[in-house]
């Protein structure tokens, strides 16, 4: 039969149910990807394990005996424990991170206050950011640790290298993190500020209750990214004396001629990063879930 009427009159059949074959096809794709990944890593492992220098590398980098000894330390041989060094890293980044989050926010807010009265402050903020983002962190650590005491300023010049190194970390990172905050603030649509001001809220109130909460939520991933970076950079404090984890590993390493302690230190740092990375993911997911189902209805 042909013609439109005929088309309408023919009973419409429901489409056939999905073939089992298509489900199988889905399964097969998964199988292929799993197998190829396994094969890839198996080949990689074999290449490494069968390399002629593998034995030597294994002994030098993965000696369980050295890892254990370096982790707990060997006081009789003057080898400090890595775990204690790592505690120093943790202390430093805990304190530093809090200070960075606060200082960076301050800088970011200062930079966007309008009006000629605040021009000097804005200028200082800009110069500070340019200076500390432009100078390698290692240099800042040296300059602070050796420069400030040399100036012999009352009270300020008698701290230890951990304080100076920590200050270097805080000032250096705040310059970067303030840019992250700025990006967040600018990503909040101007209409939010308009709405808040139109209700009679002052500029500061609008910033504090409307803009900043939104801005900060948006930049949580890059903020946490910088935090992870900070955790590693605490190791730089070693160059001015303090025995943190990497340094402790280095001491064992150079006296016993074995690199395994470095692997231990690396492992400790990774252990730290993973929960933080998952926490970031969780925060993003929670934020998305809370706002899911939104949008136009």
């Amino acid at each position: 039969m042909t013609g439109p009427r005929a088309w309408v009159e023919e009973p419409l059949e429901p489409p056939p149910p999905k073939e089992r074959g298509s489900r199988l096809l889905g399964n097969r794709a998964f199988l292929v990807s799993s197998v190829s990944t396994i094969v890839f890593f198996a080949v990689l492992t074999l290449v490494v394990v069968l390399a002629p220098g593998f034995r030597a590398v294994g002994a030098q980098f993965f000696s369980f005996r050295a890892m254990k000894a370096s982790f707990f330390g060997v006081p009789e041989a003057g080898l400090p424990p890595i775990w204690r060094g790592f505690l120093l890293n943790v202390e430093v980044f805990m304190v530093a991170e809090v200070l960075i989050l606060i200082l960076a926010l301050l800088i970011a807010v200062i930079r966007q206050i309008p009006g000629p009265v605040f021009f000097p402050f804005r200028m200082v903020a800009i110069v500070y950011t340019d200076l500390f983002r432009g100078t390698p962190l290692l240099l800042v650590i040296f300059m602070f640790t050796y420069g400030i005491p040399a100036l012999q300023i009352q009270g300020l010049s008698t701290q230890g290298p951990v304080v100076y190194g920590g200050a270097a970390l805080v000032l250096s990172y705040s310059a970067y993190v303030s840019e992250v905050y700025r990006a967040g603030i600018e990503s909040v649509h101007a209409s939010q500020m308009m709405a808040a001001r139109s209700l009679g809220l002052t500029r500061w109130q609008s910033l504090r209750y409307v803009i900043l909460p939104q801005a900060i939520r948006r930049v949580i991933p890059p903020l946490l990214n910088d935090f992870v970076s900070l955790q590693k950079d605490t190791a730089l404090l070693a160059v001015v004396g303090p025995i943190e984890a990497v340094r402790a590993a280095g001491i064992y390493s150079s006296l016993r001629f074995n690199f395994s302690p470095y692997v231990v230190a690396a492992f400790l740092f990774i252990l730290l990063t993973i929960p933080l990375a998952r926490f970031t993911d969780h925060l993003i997911e929670r934020d998305r879930r809370r706002r899911a189902g939104g949008g136009a209805r």
Binding site: M194, S198, L199, R291, R297
Partner: protein, 251 residues
Amino acid sequence: MIGNGEALRMEKVHKSFDATHVLRGIDLSVAEHEVICLIGASGSGKSTLLRCVNLLEDIDAGRIVVEGEEITAEGVDVNRIRRHIGIVFQSFNLFPHMTVMRNITLAPIKALKMSAADAEAGATELLERFGLVDKRDEFPDRLSGGQQQRLAIVRALAMKPDIMLLDEVTSALDPELVAEVLNVIRELAAGGMTMVIATHEMGFARDIANRVCFLDDGVILEEGPPAQIFTEPREERTKQFLQSIIEAGRM
């Protein structure tokens, strides 16, 4: 409140954005409890006019007097002025990170220094009045467009303003949601709120307005009671504008 019953007066107000001269001498007087509807083509300056009234934009010339006080004078506390003027926007501009209740109570608590209890009581009353009370702990993105705009109106009302400015508040809504918002506005008008409403909804304007002002090219070309404007417009441009509206089927 005070004064001679005149809620708002705009005298020879000019406003330019860079090279574009948007408001070219606005003269407008709004009495207390009056409802003024601003109609006109896009770009004629309706939004700009409203934003100048609550000082979201600075004017280049002229003056604006609200409840007897010249708000465009030197040294005026902008924040204080804004507390007495409510404005609702086309794109709602709700605070997405706050619940419905918090959206409403934020300004009364921080700007009016109301206690949290008082603010919430007032907010609840408004929510009940406008049928949103079961959403009080939701976030704005869970509301429909109509609910969001009603919430925006409630948020502005919570400040107990003397005058409400409504800037094309239904233009962004799906047609079936427009009615609920218009009903809210009707109720406000019935309750005696002084309002200046920029709108495309001609039928609504005809119902609710005490006066309709046709804005064309930065000036109020014609104003008068809705009956006169819509059936016997005097100006040629007004006629053309209304004609195009009819042809678009919006009347």
